[in-house]
Amino acid sequence: MDPKNEKKRFYLMLIIFSILVLGVVVMVTSLFIYNSPKPFDAYSILSILIATTVIGFATFFVIKRKKEIELGIPQYDERSKKIMYLSAARAYYISLYWLLAIMWLNEIFAKNNIPTDAVIGLAIAGMAIIWVICQVWYNKFGDKHI
C-alpha cells in the first residue's frame, strides 16, 4: 500500500476511534444527568458543564481533523511534534507543583466537607488546563529549544 494512503487510513481509523470514545462520553454524561438528583445541585451542574465543554471541544477537533485528513494536510509535522513534546514535558513539571498545592490545601478541603472525588477531579482538571496553557503558549510564542 502507498505510504501516503496508509497514513491517511491510519488517521481515519484514529478519527473513528475518537468518535466512538466521544459516543461513550456522551452516553455516560446522559446517564449522569438522568440519574442526578433534581433539581441539580452545584456539583451536578459543574460536572455537566465540564462534560459538555469537553464534548464540545472534542467534537470540534474531530471534525477539524477529519476535514484536514480529507484535504491531505499532515496531522503532525516537525514543529507541531516538538511543541507537543515540549509542552507535555513543561506541563508535567508544573503539574507536580499543582498537585503539591492540592495536597497542602487538603486540610481546607476536609474542613469544608469537599468529597475526595471532587478534589481528585479538581487535580485532574488543573493538570489538563496547565497542559492546554503550555500548548497554547509554545504554539504562539515558541521557545528557544524549538
Partner: protein, 62 residues
C-alpha cells in the same frame, strides 16, 4: 532565524498553504518560519530551499 522565505515565495507566486503542502508541513509551520520564530530542521530547510529554487545559504540569514 531570519530568512527571505516570504520574498522567494512571492517570486514563485506560491501561497503559504501551497508551499506547506509541497514541503509536507502544516501552514502554521511556514507562517512561523517566515516570521523567524521557528528554526527548521536541515531536512525541512533543504526542502523549502529546493522548492523555492534557491540554496539554504541564500534563503536563511546566519
Amino acid at each position: 532565524m531570519k530568512n527571505h522565505i516570504k520574498e522567494f515565495r512571492a517570486k514563485h507566486y506560491l501561497t503559504q498553504e501551497e508551499l506547506a503542502r509541497k514541503v509536507g508541513v502544516r501552514r502554521e509551520t511556514i507562517v512561523y518560519l517566515e516570521q523567524g520564530k521557528y528554526n527548521p530542521s536541515l531536512e525541512l530547510a533543504y526542502k523549502v530551499a529546493k522548492e523555492l529554487g534557491t540554496s539554504i545559504d541564500e534563503l536563511f540569514i546566519f
